[in-house]
């Protein structure tokens, strides 16, 4: 006690506590001892054990003196000497302390009655272990004090132990349950409590006055108490029943009297009955308590899930396996204008009207959820969705099948409003459009005036002027080409390039590109070899503008990066609706360690930046982007200073 710094012996509150508990313990002990038949000190009903265990559980060691004092006073005023009373009181105190300690140590302390497992531990530790201390010390004291009849040792010990056992299992739960009052009772509950207690009283009277001596008839009303009012209701009901039962059993009526040789053995039977009932009710109560905890936890988790679902910005919809809507979130309601109650149970086909960007309805077999359920894979669709009021908005739909044990049990759709993205796309495209116009116009002006200046009809220029004009012409052509390349790239990146296919003649198409390169080929004295499908003329359908960009870039690279008098081979063949273009040269090649980078935007291999400082590193990047757009591909093999071969394959029709 002295170790506890906060503890103050002369604390009025403490003194009052000691006084009250001493009195309560003393009175209950005296009541118990009235029922002592085997020995004045050993009784079949001993409520103080329950009081001691419960009080020590909540108030701890400081309250030990009250227990000791109460027990001592009750014993010394009943039978025996001061010495025997001290011993017996010590036994009672130790019993309480041990019970409380064991509960704290092994059965979750004050929460002992909240779990079935700890209720059973409580039954064993507080109901069976602790009372054996008191019974053993008590009976030994009586024996040494000469207060025990010869041969009555065993029966007295058992009576003592059972009395404490009952006290622990019937009284302690009541105190533990009611230690803290926190319930708010409304009048309806109060009414129910009153009716319930009257029912228990009536049934108790009926059973124990012997009208209907079937002890377990009380169980239903006790269950009522537990189910409706939890552990508190249960322990209160058990106490009420116990009081009635003890009263009538002492008066010689009820189910336990009939078969007993004495009041004491009847009380012992009653004690066993009441303890069993009490433990049963505690187990039921603990089970219910756990269920309530789980329910609360589930409710809490559900609330969390709901909050999560509600705060997601994208619309969410869940369906059963037939495509009937079973859940939508708030964002769905806002996005589509449908209220939850209007769509639940309906088919998604009824609610979700999908159109493509041309306003045509999307056929049911192309709808993403149907596809997802059919293939068991996640499906995406960008389309327009109609709101309840008939207005449309662009949306990205992700449909996922919900699969449980390999079977589809439903589907989930997520709707992401892409109105903003569409606007940004449009703005980007418009920007490229305007930028292209603004860039091209001054370049056109320069080119055309160079052309006019060079025209004989404008007037003659001298040789020097002609030379200068040629340089201006060359530079402006280069600038135009660069501008076109950059515009093509920004259009490709912005997704603004649409394929426009035409029928072309392959051989003459390639021939035209080669003709354009004629001057450079002639200057470097290169040897060009062409190869096409043998026999008949091959015509195919593709986007001529894009094909031109690909060919022009591949061939001009081959021409640029081959040494004078080198070779360039070009082959263009169509096999199985696939156009294969191979451009091979015996030029500078690509260094081994740079091969992975040559399709990167603005990347130029180190060995050619000196050969041609004018390159911009955009050609191959552009070819690759165009081919991605057209569904084709490009590959290459190369050896530095020996050869390079670029192979393009492109689907055509």
């Amino acid at each position: 006690m002295g170790r506890d710094k906060k503890f103050n012996f002369f604390n009025w509150r403490y003194i009052l506590q000691i006084a009250i508990i001493t009195v309560v313990y003393y009175i209950s002990a005296k009541l118990g001892l009235i029922l002592a038949f085997v020995n004045p000190s050993a009784t079949a009903i001993w409520p103080p054990t329950g009081i001691a265990i419960a009080v020590l559980l909540f108030l701890g060691k400081p309250i030990l003196p009250a227990i000791f004092l109460g027990a001592f006073l009750a014993n010394v005023t009943t039978a025996g000497s001061v010495i025997t009373s001290i011993f017996i009181a010590t036994g009672n105190t130790l019993e309480g302390w041990l019970g409380a300690y064991l509960i704290k140590r092994f059965a979750k302390g004050k929460k002992v009655l909240q779990d079935v497992d700890t209720v059973l531990r409580f039954t064993f530790l507080a109901g069976m272990i602790a009372p054996s201390i008191s019974a053993t010390i008590g009976v030994l004291t009586l024996h040494w004090g000469g207060l025990l009849m010869t041969g009555a040792f065993g029966q007295t010990w058992l009576t003592w132990w059972l009395g404490d056992f009952g006290g622990a299992l019937i009284v302690a739960p009541l105190i533990i349950n009611w230690w803290e009052l926190k319930e708010k009772l409304d009048w309806r509950k109060v009414a129910e409590v009153v009716v319930m207690f009257i029912s228990i009283a009536v049934i108790g009277e009926v059973i124990f006055q012997g009208f209907f001596p079937f002890a377990y008839a009380a169980i239903p009303v006790l269950l009522w108490a537990v189910f409706r009012f939890g552990q508190r209701g249960g322990s209160a009901a058990v106490i009420l029943l116990a009081a009635i039962a003890v009263y009538h059993t002492l008066n010689g009526t009820g189910p336990f009297v009939e078969f007993s040789r004495s009041i004491n053995s009847a009380l012992i039977l009653l004690q066993i009955y009441l303890s069993t009932t009490s433990v049963t009710m505690m187990v039921v109560g603990a089970t219910l308590f756990q269920r309530k905890l789980v329910e609360e936890k589930l409710a809490h988790e559900k609330a969390e899930d709901d909050a999560l679902l509600a705060s997601i910005g994208d619309g969410i919809l869940a369906t059963d396996r037939e495509g009937r809507i079973i859940l939508v979130n708030q964002a769905f309601e806002t996005l589509l204008g449908w209220k939850r109650a209007e769509v639940i149970g309906k088919s998604t086909v009824q609610i979700l009207v999908m159109q493509n960007d041309k306003g045509a309805y999307i056929p049911s077999e192309e709808r993403p959820l149907k596809q997802a359920m059919g293939t068991k894979q996640r499906k995406f669709l960008t389309c327009y969705l109609m709101r309840k009021d008939g207005t449309k908005f662009p949306v990205m739909i992700v449909a996922t099948p919900v699969i449980l044990d390999g079977e589809i049990v439903g589907g989930i759709k997520i709707f992401h409003d892409i109105t903003k993205e569409k606007e940004v796309d449009k703005a980007k495209t418009e920007f490229v459009l305007l930028a292209s116009h603004q860039l091209r116009t001054p370049l056109s002006i320069v080119r055309w005036y160079v052309e006019l200046l060079g025209n004989k009809k404008t007037g003659d220029l001298n040789t020097k002027q002609k030379k200068y004009l040629k340089e201006i012409g060359k530079a402006s052509s280069r600038m135009s080409a660069l501008a076109e390349t950059l515009l093509m790239i920004s259009r490709l990146e912005a997704g603004g390039v649409t394929l426009k296919t035409e029928n072309i003649d392959l051989k003459s198409f390639v021939g035209r590109v080669l003709t354009e390169l004629g001057p450079q080929v002639k200057e470097k004295e290169l040897l060009i070899k062409e190869q096409y499908n043998q026999g008949k003329r091959v015509s195919l359908v593709t986007d001529p503008k894009l094909l031109n960009v690909i060919l022009q870039n591949l061939l001009s690279n081959a021409v640029k990066y081959t040494k004078p008098q080198g070779h360039v081979w070009v082959s263009a063949t169509v096999v199985n609706k696939e156009l294969i273009i191979k451009v091979k040269d015996d030029g500078y090649g690509i260094p081994e360690n740079e091969k992975s980078k040559i399709f990167t935007k603005m990347y130029r291999a180190s060995n050619i930046s000196e050969v041609d400082p004018q390159g911009n590193g955009l050609g191959l990047y552009m070819i690759k982007s165009i081919l991605t757009k057209m569904g084709g591909s490009i590959e290459f093999e190369s050896e530095e200073n020996k050869r390079s071969t670029f192979t393009v394959s492109l689907p055509v029709s």
């Binding site: 116009h437 091209r440 002006i445 080119r447 052309e451 006019l452």
Partner: protein, 126 residues
């Protein structure tokens, strides 16, 4: 050389229209100029040229809108038009207008030379 028909150049960029006019007059064509679609439409309907060289991006009324209005006129329905612009023909609005109004050619300025333009003009006026 004689007049081979009046050519109406509708173009807001003066340097462009002057270059075109010079190149065409040197070749003996008679040229009239307008600075935007609105002015161009008015001139076209009064002068009734044999060919219209039409830019697209212009103030007041753009070339596409002008073409729509021109085709609504009884005479304008059939007058040959060469679109000469720096707008690539890949947006829907351009493609739809071209499909509806059937210009003789769609030329992108940055891709053609003056000589090439004159060739096309000759082809149309032949």
């Amino acid at each position: 050389m004689g007049t081979k028909g009046k050519i109406l150049i509708i173009e807001d960029e003066e340097a462009i229209s002057k270059a075109l006019a010079d190149a065409l007059t040197t070749q003996g064509f008679e040229v009239i100029m307008a600075k935007n679609g609105e002015e161009g439409l008015k001139t076209a309907l009064t002068v009734r040229p044999g060919l219209i060289l039409l830019d697209i991006l212009m103030p007041k009324m753009n070339g596409l809108a002008m073409m729509d209005k021109l085709r609504a006129d009884a005479w304008g329905k059939t007058v040959p038009i060469i679109i000469l612009t720096n707008v690539s023909p890949d947006s829907n609005s351009v493609l739809n207008s071209v499909a509806a109004n059937q210009p003789a050619f769609y030329l992108v300025k940055s891709e053609v030379t003056l000589e090439g333009i004159i060739e096309k003009v000759r082809e149309v006026l032949k």
